[in-house]
């Protein structure tokens, strides 16, 4: 029973990442009608915002050790971060919490990248076939990841969670399990709560603000909204920036879970497209629902008891479920009529 509970937690945690990326992907598709294959690259760029933030915070003064030597027999370099020299314990605290501080850096940077991407490239493909959009955004994704590789290399770069959040919580006790039966990492709990807050925030923004109301109206009928004198294109561009920022912060917060590398966006991209298709193209609640559902199913399929009955099921479960859902509900779980059907 505790094993099942643990896999539910794992599924919610994986589902958080899937849902956050799929949410951004759906926002872009729902507003601009663009199939954005560069969306995984935005997740990766967000993760590298965390890397850059930490690199900035750990810029160091170099002094030479009078006693110890390096591998060439020369005096060993001792690096002391400037923030520690300037601000003492507060500087140390900043480095420790660099992942959380990176969110402040990532939001404007990612929103700006999203707006530049939309204005500079993607808007020229609005009236082109989806195949053209896929090709150009896929090409953009490859360019972005190669740029990151050129600067940061191909190896993953570890980003530790703050020391106070790096242990595990005996969460099982809270649910009546034996002591130490279900220990779950603090940071993964933080990630789940963070995802829930961001998803709720996006839904609230679209539901309860005038801006959101206009965007929703534009998603339903772009031409009519334009005829009312509203510059819907501008609002959709802002939505692209918002989607990029959501995906970017999802990437930032994911770095202590999986050390970022230049290829991580591609690894998530296919999965998240499956999530969007299963949820229903253009459906925001569908994307979130499918994200969590597939995350939980993926976790369960990795259980030894399940694999003993169905060997290799963990490698195909997501695609199997996608096939079944699309056979039974061709528009996905919550897909709208008319979307991608012309």
């Amino acid at each position: 029973m505790d094993a099942i509970f643990l896999q539910v937690l794992n599924g919610l945690d994986k589902g958080s990442a899937y849902a956050l990326i799929a949410l951004g992907l759906t926002l872009i598709f729902g507003t601009l009608g663009v199939v954005n294959f560069a969306h995984g690259a935005l997740f990766m760029l967000g993760a590298f915002c965390a890397v850059i933030t930490r690199k900035i915070l750990t810029l160091s003064q170099i002094t030479l050790d009078p006693v110890r030597t390096n591998f060439l027999g020369k005096p060993l370099e001792i690096r002391t971060p400037y923030v520690e020299l300037w601000w003492g314990d507060f500087g140390t605290w900043m480095i420790d919490y660099s992942v959380l501080l990176a969110i402040l850096f990532a939001i404007p940077v990612m929103a700006l990248i999203g707006i530049i991407m939309e204005r500079g490239l993607i808007k020229h493909f609005y009236n082109r076939p989806h195949a053209d959009q896929i090709l150009v955004t896929f090409g953009l994704a490859i360019v972005l990841q190669e740029i990151i590789k050129a600067f940061f290399g191909a190896n993953p770069i570890p980003q530790p969670a703050p020391a106070s959040m790096s242990g595990g919580l005996d969460i099982g006790v809270l649910f009546g399990f034996a002591e130490y039966a279900v220990i779950y990492p603090y940071w993964r709990i933080v990630y789940f709560i963070f995802a829930a807050v961001v998803i709720s925030g996006v839904f609230a923004f679209l539901r309860y603000t005038t801006f959101g109301m206009v965007v929703r109206a534009g998603m339903a009928d772009r031409e009519t909204v334009s005829m009312l004198g509203i510059n819907i294109d501008r609002r959709f561009t802002i939505m692209f920036g918002l989607a990029a920022a959501v995906t970017g912060v999802a990437g930032v917060m994911y770095t202590p879970i999986v050390p970022p590398n230049y290829h991580m966006g591609m690894d998530f991209l296919v999965l998240c497209f499956v999530v969007v298709v299963v949820g229903g193209m253009g459906s925001l609640p569908g994307a979130v629902l499918a994200g969590f559902m597939l995350g939980i199913l993926e976790s369960f399929s990795a259980m030894n008891e399940v694999k003993a009955i169905l060997p290799g099921i963990d490698q195909i479960i997501i695609y199997l479920v996608a096939m079944i859902v699309l056979l039974v509900r061709p528009r996905g779980l919550m897909g709208r009529k008319g979307v991608m059907e012309e």
Partner: protein, 448 residues
């Protein structure tokens, strides 16, 4: 009295006969020149460096390329000579190979077997490479080794740790300097016994491809021989990013040891997840829970950060070794690039020198001559102590290092600590060992 009367048909026949006669010596000459694939013609000997320049092992590939360039420089008489000065064979003089200047072409394996074969094929057929070397994956090494065997060129494998490379997939034209899964297990087992005792329950997570399978088999056999129980072996897909679903079942499995038969990004991610789930802080069966990473690489250890501290594994070579050969290489490499070389760099540097030396001793680039020179070759001075290239399977035998993640690193390169240099005799095995069964070395192929 006969009268010679020329006619059209007779003229054509005579012309053909005379033409054939005149061409005959040329045909024989050409035949002798092209007695083997891509024989150098005096304008230099071309070596093909086939390394991952893109994909997840691109950093390892970049370090390999640095070492190859250094080896070429040393072979052509440049630089400080590096390990040529400490190599026990003195056939290399800094005058290229057999008087031919050493040139090179590079290819990108992308750590994909098909891409690696395509780039190796291109280097052999278009660039005229007389030898192919490199790689950072067993799947790639086995694929390229097979291609080189067919094409009639020598393959000096880079990083390949699967038993199969010199086991069921061994080829006469291929040689491996790197150690293998069996040797890792043989070196690690006594240290693990000393550190963790004989009454342990191990749970394996294994990368689902040739290297993972053979390493798991080797580690399980060696640890079971000393009394450990293997409670489970779970194969994990190579594309896995988040290993939490695979780590969770370990928690209540009754295991007190987790063996991660993962390399590269898989190792970094699985180790990170295992540490996050608090495995190292647990007590199971009255013992501290321990994690083992049988194959370590410094570049990968860097990716895992502080998570590697105190975790045991094995490695082919480490820059902190104090023998003259290792120090000469570290000095050459460090002064050229500003940081110490990885085990990947050391391996391919050695491979290049060993190939060049074999050509010099054989007096030819002919693959069959090179094979003969390398088979059963004993040497020293390239790090890892006295070394032997076994004729029966073309596996190199030398000392193996048992390492553990350093608790207090002094720099970003100082991540592993050598715990024990395991003597060569302890990691040797018979050529017909069951873990290496199947396949045949076959005969060398000179091509052409």
């Amino acid at each position: 009295m006969s009268v010679f009367t020329p006619n059209r048909r007779g003229l054509l026949k005579s012309g053909a006969l005379i033409g054939t006669g005149l061409a005959m010596p040329t045909i024989f000459t050409a035949s002798s020149v092209a007695a083997y694939t891509n024989a150098p013609t005096g304008s230099g000997a071309i070596l093909g460096f086939n390394v991952p320049q893109s994909g997840p092992y691109a950093d390892e590939g970049a370090d390999e390329l640095r070492a190859y360039k250094l080896a070429v420089e040393h072979l052509n008489g440049g630089g400080d000579g590096g390990m040529m000065n400490t190599f026990s064979s003195k056939a290399l003089t800094g005058n290229g190979i057999l008087g031919n200047e050493v040139k090179y072409v590079t290819g990108d394996t992308q750590t994909k077997s098909d891409a690696a074969r395509a780039s190796a094929k291109s280097m052999i057929e278009k660039d005229g490479a007389v030898m192919i070397t490199g790689g950072s994956s067993s799947g790639v090494a086995i694929a390229v080794q097979g291609l080189c065997q067919e094409a009639g060129v020598i393959f000096m494998a880079g990083l390949t740790h699967s038993n199969d490379t010199t086991g069921k997939d061994k080829k006469a034209n291929g040689f491996r300097h790197f150690f293998n899964g069996y040797m890792s297990a043989a070196a690690l087992a006594p240290v693990l016994k000393e550190m963790y005792g004989t009454d342990r329950v191990a749970y394996h997570l294994t990368a689902d491809y040739t290297w993972g399978w053979t390493q798991q088999e080797s580690i399980a056999a060696a640890t079971e021989d000393m009394g450990w129980q293997t409670i489970n072996n779970v194969l994990t897909p190579l594309a896995t990013q988040d290993f939490s679903s695979y780590i969770a079942p370990v928690l209540n499995s009754g295991a007190d040891i987790l063996v991660l038969n993962h390399y590269g990004g898989n190792m970094i991610n699985s180790l990170t997840a295992a540490v996050q789930f608090g495995l190292r802080d647990r007590q199971v069966n009255g013992k501290n829970f321990e994690i083992i990473v049988p194959l370590y690489s410094r570049l990968m250890a860097k990716g895992a950060g502080a998570n590697v501290k105190g975790i045991f594994g094995s490695t082919n070579w480490h820059w902190s070794l104090t023998d003259a050969g290792s120090q000469a290489f570290v000095k050459s490499f460090g002064e050229a690039y500003g940081f110490p070389p990885s085990q990947a760099a050391h391996t391919v540097y050695c491979q290049t020198l060993l190939y060049a030396d074999a050509c010099e001793r054989a007096g030819t680039f002919d693959p069959c001559g090179v094979v003969e020179a390398l088979e059963g070759f004993d040497f020293d001075g390239l790090g890892n102590g006295p070394t032997h290239y076994r004729a029966g399977d073309h596996q190199c035998f030398k000392d193996v290092l048992v390492v553990k993640g350093k608790e207090n690193p002094t720099s970003e390169f100082d991540l592993l600590e050598v715990v024990q240099v395991t003597p060569r005799a302890q990691v040797e095995y018979p050529v017909d060992h069951p873990m290496f069964a199947g396949g045949a070395l076959g005969k060398c192929n000179s091509g052409a």
